[in-house]
Symmetry: C2
DNA sequence: CACTCTAATATGCAAGTTACATATATCTTG
DNA sequence: CAAGATATATGTAACTTGCATATTAGAGTG
């Protein structure tokens, strides 16, 4: 901005400032389906509805640091793949006051997902149902086994839909998919994760060849154990 | 965020809030190269350096509306392709106070680019030099014919680099490229824009076939005039 | 110790896509 | 009317992807 405009900001009382929060989409794959971790709101507004974990951005805190803090404080997760998603700034998105939210996408391995549930019992794992195919975009719905279909507070349904769309879009050309898998994994596990996120089934030999050709996979020589069939080799993610 | 945390926000004086601005990357293609419109800072900090046009987000203004207002007030442009880019929240990105900036990418046709220069003489058109290929990402530099290499104020060099990377990434699979072209254009003009943004030369028959197959191009039957050679057909963009 | 079952891994081939070279068409200019 | 320049069209090889099929390596069973 230029200097003239800046005078607006110099006197903190001259112009009202919005509050800024970060909201996290804690996303993982459970039972072959994309899932998200939610918190129940116990006060107005949207009391009783489910919301994404979030928190205010401190005056001396970067956006990324705020997202990491929320990840730690609200989900008990010390480290995860974190990526800024989009900023939501509708004027009435919170009925109490003006709040601009910077949404982040956090990708959790199944282990991290379960660990968060252990550490923070208030968290609810909910399956994400995506009614559109490809990258068409649009609303998604959220269901939990006990509570059935859930209504999300604020514009969090929009945020979640944005997260799903972003993840689908990046899955093919980037290496984000590995953030949903443990350190060692089989090619079948990798394909399962892709199929869960994309919502389609993929051709096995083609998928296998395509990903091996990308140079992201390092064979370990080790194999999974305890299968009633030929054990698959374990791979590790490595940047090319 | 949850209710406990929310108490921080209820009392406007209890916790300091950041200011929120929007900054616009006004991007076009001039002389076969990507170009950006900049404003010179006439006060501290970064006095004399060049900055992206921006402005504070009003308390009753959405982020998109703020971006449109800046587009109108700072560049005299009534309408352009606008897309939210990324939010920049480093604590010391402005030495005076905490400011979080939501960056927007605005794509201008050559006509809109020139019109902005007419309407707002303070704007400087500067060519963007991208020293990396593909989608590697990294810093870009900015040069103007009169002033040579320019130093951008604040973290605006980062914002600009993010804009270039985003545009390169989207050009192939989306229809953003048409936002840089007038209503009627030839296939050669379309290819020139792609080559300018991507920083590579493209194979003509392949480019032509690939784009015609996407179903985005409607032949008008009209042809360009005044050429010293076979005139090219004029096309119009249409969603498939 | 065969034999069966299951899924991993490997391979072959057709179909589709893309890059490149080359040919033809259409305009202006001298 | 030939030359020059660029648009447009097409043919072919290289590459990528989808699908079918074969082979391999384990566990379980009689």
């Amino acid at each position: 901005m230029d200097e003239t405009d800046f005078l607006r900001g110099y006197d903190p009382n001259a112009f009202q400032r919005p509050s800024v929060t970060v909201d996290l989409v804690l996303l993982g794959v459970r039972n072959g389906k994309p899932a998200v971790l939610l918190l129940k709101r116990d006060q107005q507004p949207y009391q009783g509805q489910w919301a994404l974990p979030g928190g205010f951005v401190g005056i001396d805190e970067t956006l990324d640091a705020a997202a990491e803090r929320v990840l730690r404080q609200k989900a008990g997760i010390g480290h995860a793949y974190l990526e800024q998603l989009y900023s939501f700034g509708a004027v009435d998105r919170d009925p109490r006051m003006r709040i601009i939210s910077v949404a982040y996408l956090a990708l959790l391995t199944e282990t991290a997902f379960d660990a968060a549930l252990q550490a923070m019992p208030a968290l609810l794992p909910a399956a994400i149902q995506v009614p559109w195919s490809g990258e068409a975009g649009g609303p998604v719905s959220v269901v939990s086994p006990e509570n059935g279909a859930l209504t999300l507070a604020f514009d969090h349904a929009d945020i979640l839909a944005t997260a799903v769309l972003r993840l689908r879009g990046k899955l093919d050309y980037s290496d984000v998919g590995f953030a949903l898998l443990p350190e060692l994994f089989t090619l079948r596990q990798l394909q399962d994760v892709h199929e869960a996120i994309l919502g389609t089934s993929l051709n096995k030999p083609a998928f296998r060849r395509r990903l091996l050709d990308k140079g992201w996979l390092a064979a370990t020589g080790a194999h999974e154990a305890g299968t009633a069939y030929r054990p698959a080799e374990l791979y590790r993610f490595q940047r090319p």
